[in-house]
Amino acid sequence: MNRRAGLLFNLVKYRALFLMVVLPAAVLVFNNYIPMFGGIVAFKNYNFEGGILGSPWAGLDNFKYLFQTEDALVATRNTVLYNGLFIVLNTVCAIFLAIALNELRSRKLAKFFQSSLLFPYFLSFVAVSYLAYAFLGGYGYINKMILEPLGFHDISWYTEPKYWTVILPLVNLWKNVGYGMVVYLAAIIGIDQEYYEAAVIDGASKWQQIRKITIPLIVPVIIVLVILQIGRIFNADFGLFYQVPLNTGVLYPTTNVIDTFVYRSLLVTGNVGMSAAASVYQSVVGFVLVLLTNLIVRKTSRENALF
């Protein structure tokens, strides 16, 4: 049997599986691959009369403004650093919470904590931004209810970029930790109880059980989740970085990320070609980053690499 026949044979034999793939693959092609041709807009002097194909070519002109200032570089740096920090912070906190919830005796309390921790995940960032403003604004909770009664001066949170390197990770953690926690909790519950029974008989303490059984057994899950997140390290959460600082110019140095940079470029210039250039820049650097990450993973543990 040659390879071709084998493929045909497989197609027939696993037709149900192939059928299941058809729809998602179509969505992928239509949503993600076909629009890629729009990337040529980045190399065109776009106007509405000519459209995508008819507009004159502009070479690399549209990319110039990205490198004329350090804005694009700052945004790139912010994107990678914030996302790196988010991955570490969220993973550690989510695992910690998952273990803690798993150890909780009362199932009712566990359910309660689980739901309330997951709840912020479903809030829109617009709502979150006003919650944050209620806390941090000039008349906000922190200034009026905490700092003033304690005799401190008000702090203008929205005028000092340096505070936001802490505020943004905290907001992101609060919003997203519940989701990671649920995933890890599922993994922990999947661990066979026999391990723990055996450990108890051997006289292992709770701490030893966590360290020697729980964590090693969920390591594969952790690796997969982290790799997936690293793959998206170049895609910042637009809502977090645009809505939560209320699009305040003063804060751009620490809140501008690639996504907001691209968005603002379109708004400021209204120039389709130039915003497309920024978007192409993001995609190319992001692509390189994914390849690099995968390369590193493959070097360290081959079977965990994505490809």
């Binding site: 509405f48 459209g51 403004y65 997936l228 895609n235 003063v250 708004l267």
Partner: protein, 519 residues
């Protein structure tokens, strides 16, 4: 063995769930790619529009043959509660005249330029929209967002063309072509402040003594001490526009309002530095609202009457208009001389989107807004009997039982459409307001470059880079949140590195060419 497969299953589940989540997130990414699809849609949309245009052209003069169409109108402002009633009233008036119905869309000031940019970029069909020189008119024209209406005006708006000051049409044309119909209104601008009259009276401030911001300071101090719930002065980026420079284009680069034609960076002038220092001083003294660089919308505060003083672009009788809109008495103080720039000719215009399906009907509607007082006043003042009552032929008052500022329709768009001279006057306004406008127009000192329009295309990369920097600093510097001693030099330095000198040289080149062509 079994255990292993269990872990594998868990792992697979996790991978599956997360990949689902990731594809979900992936949508945000598609927003960027969406341009392509939208642009494609736009192309077909254009084809349709063109087809419709040719089809409609033939029977255009034959009035009964007009098919009913819906025309959408977009302008910046707060959405009004009773807009449906106003649309209904306008539709009644329009039915016999041009057999059209209207859909009025007010877009928040804060979102206006973004929304229009996105609508234009996505090729969404719409008809009339407000535009202005300060609202990226030339940029939109360069992008081909607006229809060339030169011949449409001749064909479908001859009355408007006949009654309009010809300077308006020539002064707003780009390369000899009109891409919008200018509103007939004041042709000059002056700046100053408006004060909450109740508060000014309460502390018997002598408004006559105010000539500059500095004269205002003792009053702000009084308000700060005695009225803890009132913002003494509204901080914002417009406040610095009192310095005597005429802005050219969108990014820094201006000529001084003393007849000079040399383009300078106004941020490097001593006038700007003094202004920024004053703003910082005021911010430190607590005269501004909290978080002035973030809290940019004065609207709710004005409705509540909790702002004492704020910057405004003024025209004769502007305070009376604002009193009506905000529901409490306002008084204005002029701080600059009336001055006519190109920006004042194109300060308010009506354009037709190139995605309009019925451009000739849209032009007929524009013509009516310039000539039909009843129609125009419905759009800007609302439904007679519901939002206003007639006191005489051209003077209106609030209907009995309606409180100022709560009528359900006070869009504040009276300067955005048609001929302002057709607008009814409120009973609190000077009955000679339109005469005052004409005198104001006559008294204004014209800029040496009236009629000049700047084309940013040759330096668009520099402008884009500078605009990003500008937006980082403008709110912070002009509200005194940033330190002019430290941040202003950094701001200037960054703009220079991004090519500000090249932009200024380009502006100078274009102005010199304009001036020599005029000779």
């Amino acid at each position: 063995m079994q255990r292993k497969s269990k872990i594998a299953t868990a792992l697979l589940t996790v991978a599956f769930v997360s990949s689902l989540a990731l594809t979900g997130c992936g949508n945000s990414n598609n927003g960027n790619n969406g341009n392509a699809a939208n642009a494609a849609e736009l192309e077909t949309g254009n084809a349709n529009a063109n087809a419709a245009q040719t089809e409609n052209e033939a029977p255009a003069d034959d009035k009964p043959a007009l098919d009913p169409v819906e025309l959408s109108i977009y302008y910046p402002g707060t959405e009004q509660k009773d807009v449906a009633a106003v649309e209904e009233e306008m539709n009644k008036l329009l039915k016999d005249k041009i057999n059209a119905t209207v859909k009025i869309n007010a877009v928040d000031w804060g979102n206006w330029s973004q929304k229009i940019n996105l609508m234009v970029a996505s090729g969404e069909p719409f008809d009339l929209l407000f535009t202005a020189g300060w609202d990226n008119f030339s940029g939109n024209v360069a992008k081909g967002a607006f229809l060339d209406v030169t011949s449409l005006i001749d064909q479908y708006a001859p009355e408007t063309k006949a009654q309009m000051n010809p300077e308006l049409l020539t002064g707003t044309a780009i390369d000899g072509k009109n891409y919008a119909v200018p509103v007939e209104k004041e042709m000059a601008s002056e700046f100053g402040i408006v004060l909450n009259k109740d508060l000014a009276d309460k502390y018997s401030f002598d408004i006559g003594t105010i000539k500059s911001y500095a004269d205002l300071e003792p009053m702000l101090q009084t308000i700060k001490e005695k009225e803890p719930n009132v913002v003494p002065f509204w901080g914002g980026k417009n406040n610095i526009s009192l310095i005597p420079f005429e802005q050219i284009g969108a990014v820094p680069g201006a000529i001084k309002k003393d007849g000079a034609t040399t383009v300078v960076d106004q941020w490097e002038t001593p006038e700007m530095k003094d202004m920024l220092k004053l703003m910082k001083d005021w911010n430190q003294k607590g005269y501004f609202q909290k978080d002035p660089a973030t809290q940019k919308d004065a609207g709710p505060f004005n409705k509540a009457g909790t702002v004492f003083a704020q910057w405004q672009q003024l025209t004769p009788g502007k305070d009376k208009v604002l009193s009506q809109q905000w529901g409490h008495p306002i008084v204005q103080v002029v701080m600059t001389e009336p001055y006519t720039t190109s920006g004042d000719l194109n300060g308010a215009m009506t354009a037709i989107s190139r995605t309009s399906k019925n451009p000739e009907r849209a032009m007929m509607l524009i013509n009516l807004l310039h000539t039909d007082a009843q129609l125009l006043n419905t759009l800007v003042n609302g439904v007679e009997g519901k939002h206003f009552a007639k006191a005489s032929n051209t003077v209106i008052k609030l209907p009995d039982g309606v409180v100022a500022g709560q009528s359900g329709y006070a869009p504040g768009n009276n300067y955005m459409f048609g001929s302002q001279f057709l607008n009814y006057l409120w009973d609190n306004e000077d009955p000679k307001k339109w005469e005052a406008y004409k005198a104001f127009n006559a008294s204004a000192k014209p800029s040496p470059i009236v009629g000049f329009s700047y084309n940013a295309e040759p330096v668009k990369n520099e402008e884009a880079a500078i605009a990003n920097i500008y937006n980082t600093y403008i709110d912070g510097l002009s509200t005194g949140v940033m330190d002019p001693d430290k941040d202003l030099p950094a701001f200037i330095d960054k703009m220079k590195k991004a090519g500000l000198d090249k932009v200024i040289a380009e502006k100078q080149k274009q102005i010199d060419a304009f001036l020599s062509s005029k000779k």
